[in-house]
Symmetry: C2
Subunit: 417 residues, 2 copies
């Protein structure tokens, strides 16, 4: 049995809408047609398990109700027989979710939970590297993996990027990524970028024993092209790739994961349009299940005090969702906190995410724009995490940690990048 | 130059938000970082071409504004240098669109137009069959291709489906499709369904010379599995497939199209969540460009008087969008009107879509539940279209066309399926 929970909004009856979702999304049709028997319905029909009324909304999420009409809300659990859907994720999305957004009479619909049976565990690869693989490859234990981002987002030529990356490698950072908007444009073909950057990674590794994980942007709408990008990175000794999951879709991700030798770092750009309106779309709790089964290793989920619209509570819920096994610990990707991070958010991030250091903490400007340079920026972020884990206020810890002190002075009033 | 038009909604300045989209989606970053020079910006920076103010909205689309705060609206044209993006559609989606939905301070964002340069025409396959191929394979000229859908959506075993399909083939219909929710579940593996159905298609072809186009559901999140499904259909002599484009994503579609020998009939389930709120998401005009370039041959876009939420005007705009060449007539897919159609909507469909018969007109219950059986149902739909093209009111034409008369009696007060 596959169980979905929908938050339903309607000027009519929530119960009737739940029944309609169950019917439309399985056997349903408006006109009785020959061949539709009760036995058949029992085989595949979705069933409403429970409806919980919620307080009326002030206004409809989709502006399709008459002004002043009451907008009723409720949550419905609907069960689909596994036989009706199977374990294919495209079938799951199409049958249990996608069509429901088209139903007339709804003024809002949000899919807020999904419980999949064990059969899905066996049908999908899940993360290849996940938390333990990310730690092993970076050699970082007992603290967050500290990462940074090459900026500006677009426009640098390969040798310019490599120069910046060289400085960042020298800073002691664990992880460096391409901006998600950088893939393989004419001014910076991936092949040339890899060729310019990887020697610096290897040189640093030989000198220090530390191999910095570089996440190269390999996304492409064409899976064959994306695999060529993947191979370029792997053959050059790279071990990570940024993947724009929504832009490549389930097909791109599935194809890549089956053939991948790289840690797959998921950027979910575009996700906001599916979740930003609280009455419409998806909770991250649902959405992330698809991508974890498909094999995401590291999952960007914003952070505390980000520069985007997303509230802190939403980030905390996303972190919780990623931290809960779907079927086993092996299907947990590494959560990635990013956007406007500089170390200042370490205490609250630590406190609100179950006091774990199993995360990749991604600071752009927070490292790169540190007044004493990126190496100091990295030290400042590590110091902030030391303080957070030891429950020492940052300001106190900064008294004998000058890099952190300089960070607080520069970013403390506002935000990094 | 790639030009996007965004409808911006904000309690702040529309002009400032337009500038922010341009900056964030190209070079942008909040903190000045080394290496960001003016020369580089000129190479890849997006540029705001124009901002047109629109009247304030009554309330914010995303409920993120203080009550009573004015919600300013405007349209902004923003140009991206082709060099900054390239012709990859995943890059286009990520760079020019996806991240913009995350910008703080917006209370709504809708991408309402997109103009791509000629370079995209050469980089993508487009439809393999489109309008002319669909006509050639069905042998239908000078009128709409008439199609129907096997119902119930889910639950029939292959021999039960084949029995229904056999009756539908005998009805004289041109096209029959699986419900989009039917792919290859355990109770009806595609292989068995194809094996049960295709002999009936061939038998009818040998007897009458007419080959009915059967669209089998081949979608799968895994492109390798989807190709196996594709091959099953092709090897059995089939010529069409239903593809759930949003559930397979750009990657699935791109992979399939490059290897496809089938007419690809796109079902856009899930699209509603991206377009139903008028202040959020996408106009179809934008969305369809991606899928046409990727190679959709037939595109479902609802119809007049559908059973879903979508208003008639929206369908008409979608039809117009599909009817306009992106670069040449060859990139036009066949529009598919469906949902609640029975012939009664033929006159308005014809009148409002430029008096064309270049469409696939899909009737479920409108054919299957005709009181005199499906053959009469097909005749009734063809009669409705004859009347529409000849500008004869349906009621008049029905006086000496009893099948149409029976359709009007049954479906005229309400809807088919």
């Amino acid at each position: 049995m596959i169980t979905l929970t929908y938050r339903i909004e309607t000027t009519g009856s929530v119960e009737a809408m739940a029944q309609k979702i169950a019917s439309d999304q399985s056997t349903g049709t408006f006109v009785p047609v020959p061949g539709e028997t009760e036995a058949l319905k029992a085989r595949v029909a979705a069933r409403v398990l429970a409806v919980r009324q919620l307080p009326d909304a002030n206004r409809p999420s989709w502006p399709e109700a008459a002004d002043g009409a009451p907008v009723h809300c409720g949550e419905a659990d609907i069960a689909f027989p596994l036989d009706a859907v199977g374990t294919d994720l495209a079938a799951l999305m199409t049958i249990a979710i996608a069509g429901a957004f088209s139903i007339k009479g709804l003024t809002g619909l949000r899919v807020v939970d999904m419980a999949l049976p064990e059969a899905f565990a066996h049908a999908h690869p899940g993360p290849q590297f996940g938390i333990s693989g990310s730690r092993r490859l970076t050699g970082v234990e007992d603290r967050p993996i500290i990462g940074t981002i090459v900026k500006p987002a677009l426009g640098l030529r390969p040798h310019e990027t490599a120069e910046l990356v060289g400085e960042l490698i020298a800073s002691g950072v664990d992880f460096i990524k391409d901006d998600e908007k950088l893939m393989s444009p004419a001014y910076s073909p991936l092949k040339e970028r890899v060729a310019a950057i990887m020697p610096k990674v290897k040189e640093h590794e030989q000198k220090t024993g530390k191999k910095v994980m570089i996440a190269f942007g390999i996304s492409h709408a064409d899976p064959d092209e994306m695999m060529r990008n993947h191979d370029l990175v792997l053959e050059a000794g790279g071990n990570c790739a940024v993947v724009n999951i929504n832009s490549i879709g389930f097909g791109g991700m599935s194809f890549l994961r089956k053939r991948s030798g790289l840690v797959l770092h998921a950027h979910r750009n575009g996700w906001d349009v599916l979740t930003r309106h609280p009455g419409i779309g998806f909770d991250f709790k649902v959405y992330q299940q698809f991508w974890r089964l498909l094999g995401v290793d590291q999952f960007q989920i914003n952070g505390i005090g980000v520069k985007y619209w997303e509230p802190d509570d939403s980030f905390v819920r996303s972190f919780e969702a990623l931290s809960k096994p779907l079927f086993s610990d092996a299907d947990k990707p590494l959560p990635v906190a990013g956007s406007g991070q500089w170390g200042g958010q370490a205490p609250e991030t630590y406190r609100r995410t179950g006091r774990t250091t199993d995360l990749l903490y991604l600071c752009g400007g927070g490292i790169v724009s540190h007044p004493q340079g990126p190496a100091a920026g990295v030290r400042a972020v590590r110091q902030a995490w030391e303080a957070a884990v030891a429950d020492i206020p940052l300001e106190t810890y900064a008294q004998d940690h000058p890099e952190l002190a300089a960070s607080i002075a520069k970013f403390g009033g506002g935000q990094g990048e």
